[in-house]
Each structure stands twice: as C-alpha cells, then as structure tokens.
C-alpha cells in the first residue's frame, strides 16, 4: 500500500460502476414523478406508504456521506464503542410513538415551525423557521462538501465538481418526484449502503479466516460497547451520550423536518410505530456495523501488519485492500448513496419549510395547490444552489467556516428540543417563554463558543474532562440554560387556555384523533378485507367509498370510518393506494370508488385490493 490519500485508488471499471450508479439512481427517481400531482404528494408522498419501505429509506437518510469516514475513524481508534451513536436511540421511542407522533400526525402538521405557531403563536413560528432553515441549508452544504472531498481524494475530481455533479443528480429527481422519488431512491440506496458496509466487514472476517481470528487481533480496549465514562475527553461515554444520545437523537425525532416528513408519509400512526421499531431495533444496529466495520477490520489488518493507514482513511484503505476492481466501485457507490439519500431528504425538507412557513403564510396566501407545487419545485432547486454556495465558502475558507457550521449545527438543536419537550409535556409553558427559549437559548449557545466563555460556562459541566470535551458537554449546558429560561419566563407570563391547546399537548391525543377523523374514533380491532375494485360515478365525494357489510364486519368498521384501499401486492409498499371514508354498505362484494379516487390510487377497475380500517 504505497498510495497516498491524494492518489486515485480505483480503476477505470470503478468509474464505470459509479457513473452507471448515478444515472441509474436519477432515472429510478424520475420514474416516480408520475405519482406527484399535489403538494401533499410532493412533501408527504400522498401519505400512503407501508412501514417497511419507510424504515429502509429512513436509515439511508440517517447515514450521511460523512458516516462511513467518521465512524470508521472512531472504530479504528476506539473499536466497537463507535456504535454508541446508533444504539442510544431506543430511549426516545416511547415519547416519539406515544406522544409526539400522534400529535403531529393527527393535527396534520406539515412542518415543525407550523406546530410552533399552533402551540405558541406566530413569533415562535418565525424564530423556528429561521433556525430550521439555517440548519437544513448549512447541512446540505456540509454533506455536498464532504462527498466532494471524498471524490477528490478517490477520483481526483475538484471538490466543487464532485459536489455539483451530486447536487444536480439529486435535484433532478427531487424536483421531478418530490417525496415519493426521495423515498423510493432512498430505499434502494439504504439497501446498497448496508450491503456494502456489512460486506466489507464480512470480507475482512473471511480474510482473517473466521470471527475468532479477527476478534483475537483487536486490542482488548477495542472490544467494549462503551468507552470509559469520562475518558478519553474526545470520545467519552458521558460526552457521546449527552451530545448524541440526548440532544441529537432528541432533535432527530422531534425537530428534524426531513424525518418528520418521512413519518407523515406513512399510511397510519400504527405504521409509523412499526417503522420506528424496525428502524431503531434492526436497521440502526446494522447501520452501526456497516459504518464502523471498516474501521474495526482496518485496525485488525493494522495490528496484523498487513495495512498501513491513518484512522481517517481506515474505511477507504480497508475497502481498497479487500475489494477487487469493480467491486471497489460499489464502495464508492455506497458513499455516494449515503450522500444522495441524505441530501435529497434535506432539499425536500427545505422546500416544505419554505412553502409552508414562508410562502403560504407571508407571501401568497391565496395561491392554489398547483401554484404551490410549482413554488415547491423551484425552491428545491434554490435550496440545492444555496447548499452548493456553502460548499464554495467551505472550499475557500475551510477552517473558519467549517467550524462556524459546526457551531451552528451544534447550537441549534438544544433550544428546539427543549421548546418542543416543554411545549408538549407542560401545558403551562407559555408562548413568551417559548420565544425566549428559542432566541435566548440560541444566543446563549453561540456565546459558549467564545473560548474564554466556554471555560466559564461549560468548564464546570465537563466533569474534569477539560476543553476537549466541550464539543460534547455543550449539550448539557444547552439543556440546563434553555430549560431554565423556559421555566423562568413561564412563571411570569400568561399561558394559553386548555381549549386552545386541544390536540397540541400530551393528554389530548384522543382529541387530535377526533379532529383528524371528524368524528368519534373507532379503535375496535379488525382485520383486512380482500375485495375487487369497481368504479362508481354516483358517489358524491372522491373521499367516499362503498364496501359490503361483510367487509365492514371483518374490519370492525362503521360507516364514516377512515379506510385504506391498497393494491394487494405488498411489495408496492403502499405506492398504489388511497385513503377513503366508508359510506353506507352496498349489496355487492366490491369496493366502489370514484374515478378520481382510482386515479389517485393508481388502481384500475377490476383489480384485487386489500381494504383496512385506519381509524
């Protein structure tokens, strides 16, 4: 291994593989543009998908372009404890599944800032919009920049060229198909990046002759699930847990617009719960192995005297050592997949926030859905261009701007997470307190980045770990400061009335369900019914359907209940489906839908479908 990181490691066949991958993903994404006819389709994929499909696409979103490099780096340096970041998400699941999801789903909240307006009023919405947009666009930039850097070291492309090619590819299919294209391409990319990451690990184990031999080569310090509680300061269990397990995961489930939109694209809250379980218990551990495995194998190769590498190059060097030409191209494709599947979600999320929180309320409130869809597509392009602008700045002023970005992303989540938590769990939490928490909390976080202030503010909370731990322990500081601001201001200001908070705070989830359905909720357990579709032009409303009494009995449904009609082929994952309301039962053994509903569902008359009660 004489190559350096600045030399191209791959062969011409790897070029072919990665080029084919780019073209394939773009064409695959564009194919699904036929399913996008409204802003609901563009932002939420028509709210029709099954849990397994969203779980895979969600994991592709979680794994960013930097993940392979970053987690293989810490995997090489510290061993299996690199998995900490992916294995500490479960603790947030009950809050997500039983409190937050029912509120946003049943309240038909389209963006996180919109929740802030309904719960606290317009000033908080404006503050939340500024924070979320800054966060998302800067994050698009850093993803493009990271991939540009990887492609530069591997293929010799200039950073801007790599970033621009990727941005163009992603933007083409996001503009064409919106959330549906994002979900379907992320599904494919999620599979690719898991297969490649785990494949590198298995290839390494096979190279050593078995798991026992591989395990024996790792230093003992590399075999633990956690690093020590307070050492090393740059990777202590306490620091990682505060920064990643508490704040970042909290932000991911409570305020990440991209993930919120993914949850809202599911056909029901029950599917959202299943998706969350599959995502956290199955796919996140696999992602932890996929992204860290290259570092573990690299370390074993290093200990065995077979590979010279730095920790930062561990994944690439290990993959290059183990893979034949052509196969290495798939490794590059996995890195690209990790970037594209994160960037497409972020671009779509920026578009949603721009349309729902700026254009609709402040610029053109009377625009039709068709006009809004056009704005959504244009704002996707603008989001990608601004993201590329950030790359340009990162290239010119790497150190200061990259650090500034780190400051922005590290300081944003704490005020938002605290504001959402207090807003949901504490009815007394007032609009004024929310605004102060968001704005004052962000200012307090920014002040903590001034070196002399960091010692004063974060030093006492670093448990003796010193300045190297401030990056992590800033999360604890943020929690304390934002929490204190929120509580203090609440004590001196006026809360909203209970009637104004219906469906927006915990304890009122059933009210939210009633509002969503427009009537009393039917929670009797039922089964799916299998029926054949027929057209009925006499139905008064596209949202109405007729099913026989026997089907209503099977589903334990009543007229007026919300039903979900779906192509019987499960592997479509809900792509061909529609939500309707049960009308009075009909005499024939058919499910009758209007031509409009059939067009939305992409189902033909005479086709067999499953019908299930949603609520």
């Amino acid at each position: 291994m004489n190559e350096t990181a600045t030399q191209f490691l791959g062969q011409p066949i790897d070029y072919v593989v990665i080029l084919a991958y780019f073209i394939g993903v773009v064409l695959f994404g564009m194919y699904f543009s036929r399913y996008t006819h409204s802003t609901k389709d563009f932002f939420f994929g028509g709210q029709r998908f099954a849990w397994w499909l969203i779980a895979f696409s969600g994991i592709a979103t979680t794994v960013g372009s930097y993940s392979f490099v970053k987690y293989s780096d810490v995997g090489f340096k510290y061993g299996l404890s690199s998995t900490q970041s992916y294995l500490n998400d479960w603790f947030w699941m009950p809050i997500l599944m039983l409190v937050w999801l029912p509120i946003i789903y049943y309240q038909r909240v389209t963006s996180v800032p919109e929740y802030f307006e309904r719960r606290f009023g317009r000033p908080s919405r404006v503050a939340a919009t500024c924070i979320v947009l800054t966060y998302l666009i800067a994050y698009i930039g850093v993803n493009l920049f990271t991939l540009g850097q990887v492609l530069e070291s591997l293929l010799g492309w200039h950073v801007m060229v790599g970033a621009a090619v990727t941005a163009v590819a992603v933007t083409i299919y996001v503009v064409a198909g919106g959330q549906t294209s994002v979900i379907m391409t992320d599904l494919a990319q999620g599979v690719i990046l898991l297969v490649v990451g785990i494949g590198v690990l298995l290839a390494g184990v096979w190279h050593f002759g078995g798991f026992g031999e591989f395990w024996g080569l790792l230093p003992e310090t590399h075999k633990y699930a956690f690093s020590d509680l307070t050492s090393p300061p740059k990777f202590s269990a306490l620091g990682i847990y505060m920064q990643d397990g508490v704040i970042n995961t909290g932000a991911f489930v409570l305020m990440n617009q991209g993930m919120i939109m993914r949850f809202l694209s599911l056909k029901s809250v029950k599917d959202a719960q299943k998706m969350a379980v599959c995502w956290i218990l199955v796919l996140a551990p696999l992602a932890a192995i996929a992204t860290g495995g290259g570092g573990w194998i690299g370390r074993a190769l290093f200990e065995n005297g077979e590979l010279e590498t730095t920790s930062k190059e561990a994944f690439i060097r290990t993959a290059h050592f183990l893979c034949a030409p052509g196969i290495f191209g798939f490794v590059l494709a996995a890195l690209t997949a990790a970037l594209m599947s994160t960037a497409d979600t972020l671009i779509n999320a920026v578009s949603a926030v721009f349309v729902n929180d700026i254009w609709k309320p402040f610029v053109r409130p009377k625009d039709t859905d068709r006009q809004l869809l056009r704005v959504a597509r244009m704002s996707s392009v603008v989001a990608a261009v601004i993201g590329l602008g950030f790359v340009l700045i990162y290239v010119v002023q790497y150190e200061s701007i990259y650090q500034a970005h780190a400051m922005v992303t590290a300081s944003i989540p704490a005020p938002m997470v605290v504001a959402v938590l207090l807003g949901v769990f504490w009815k007394r939490f007032t609009p004024a307190a929310c605004f102060v928490t968001l704005v004052g909390g962000s200012v307090a976080m920014a002040i903590s980045f001034i070196p002399s202030m960091a010692d004063l503010l974060i030093g006492p909370l670093s448990f003796g770990m010193g300045p190297d731990s401030y990056k992590f322990m800033r999360a604890l500081y943020g929690l304390i400061v934002c929490g204190a601001l929120g509580v203090l201001v609440t004590l001196f200001t006026k809360p909203k009335t209970a009637a104004e908070l219906k469906g927006l705070v915990t304890g009122t989830e059933l009210d939210a369900m009633r509002q969503y359905k427009g009537g009393e909720v039917n929670r009797r357990p039922g089964k799916k019914a299998r029926l054949r579709v027929a057209v009925d032009t006499t139905l008064s409303d596209d949202e109405l359907c007729v099913v026989p009494q026997s089907a209503l009995d099977t589903m334990a449904a009543d007229p007026g209940d919300l039903l979900y009609v779906c192509d019987k082929r499960w592997w479509f994952g809900g792509l061909r489906s529609v939500h309707v309301k049960a009308g009075e039962p009909g005499p024939e053994d058919l499910v009758k839908l209007t031509p409009g509903a059939l067009a939305v569902a992409h189902i033909r008359s005479g086709q067999d479908v499953t019908v299930e009660k949603i609520m």
Binding site: L87, N88, W90, F91, V99, G212, K223, G245, L281, P285
Partner: protein
Amino acid sequence: MEMARVWPIVLEYGVGAFLCGIGVWYGLKSGFLDLKSGDGKRMLAVIIGGFLAMLALVCVFTFWLPFVPKGVAP
C-alpha cells in the same frame, strides 16, 4: 471489572429508563396507549423488550466478549 466500563451502562440505561417511563406514563394517561387492547399490550411489550434487548447487547460486549482469550472463537 473496571467500573469505568460499567458506569456508562448505568448512566445510559438509567436516563433511558426515565425517558421511556415518561413516554409510557403519558401514553397511558392520555388513553392513547390502551392496555385493554391487544395492540396496546403489544406496544408495551415491544418497548420493554427493545429496552432489554439493547441492554443485553451492551452487557455481552462489556462483561463477556472482551474477555474471550485469543484464538478461542466466541
């Protein structure tokens, strides 16, 4: 056994149990988590099972696998 390796488990799963407890408590209080229904019971079982499964995993990689002697397949 180095306690420095044990305290992270105590911290993470202690705070984690608290967070899980908040979610379950408020789910029950609001009526959204209904333990009279099969779905509600399954949901609670999954939450507790997931917690214990993750705990078991980190215990394996803290108390057993690091101490497997070289050359012996775990």
